[in-house]
């Protein structure tokens, strides 16, 4: 059993813990900006988790998912911040 194969499940668990911390901030966050920041971090961590899962399951399918999450997450963050900033999305 190689070292990487031993480490991978622990790394995935650690990312799950990071997701739980982000979720806690998402529920707790006193302001709207905090919640958007928590969502932003949540999608980035999910992306890393999916990439690790791809190594573990030895499949390249997860990259397409990761790329989609990266794009849609960025658009979501921009739109939400824009809404907070201007009270409107498309002017």
């Amino acid at each position: 059993m190689s070292l990487t194969a031993t480490i991978l499940p622990w790394a995935i668990g650690a990312f799950a813990l990071a997701l739980a911390l982000n979720g806690w901030r998402l529920l707790l966050g006193p302001g709207m900006a905090d919640r958007i920041l928590a969502l932003d971090t949540l999608y980035i961590n999910t992306l890393a988790l999916l990439v690790l899962l791809g190594i573990w399951r030895d499949s390249k399918v997860y990259f397409e998912v990761a790329l989609l999450i990266a794009m849609l997450g960025f658009v979501g963050t921009v739109v939400l911040s824009k809404y907070l900033l201007r009270g409107d999305i498309v002017e």
Partner: protein, 120 residues
């Protein structure tokens, strides 16, 4: 994943551990720090680096396994590293606009008077 050469095994393990450590520290900072401007610091640096480490490890592993350079990860890395500063900038602009409260003893001074409801 049985017959990796030792150097690649060690390199992959080190990259994954470093990435996980960065991501965990960033998320912990997001959960623990006391006001929004401090909280923005954790995820925008640490988490981006953490994802970078994991993606490099993945690129190395799939390049070794298939024998052809694996460029998907490079695409994701490039995209993330381009978009992370933009979203952080927009977030802090929104927070300044909303005048998020600061923690006591924060080093960040109060903003100038509000520029009006539709101002930048």
């Amino acid at each position: 994943m049985q017959n990796l050469p030792l150097w690649l095994d060690l390199l992959l393990a080190a990259l994954i551990v470093a990435g996980v450590a960065f991501a965990l520290i960033g998320s912990w900072g997001l959960a623990k720090l006391s006001d929004f401007y401090l909280r923005l610091h954790g995820p925008t640096k640490a988490t981006t680096l953490g994802v970078g480490g994991v993606l490099i490890a993945s690129a190395l592993w799939f390049t070794y396994k298939t024998g052809v350079p694996s460029l998907n990860e490079l695409l994701i890395t490039l995209f993330l590293f381009l978009t992370a500063p933009v979203s952080a900038h927009l977030l802090i602009k929104a927070a300044l606009h909303l005048e998020q409260s600061r923690a006591k003893g924060s080093a960040i001074p109060p903003t100038s008077p509000r520029p009006g409801p539709r101002g930048r």
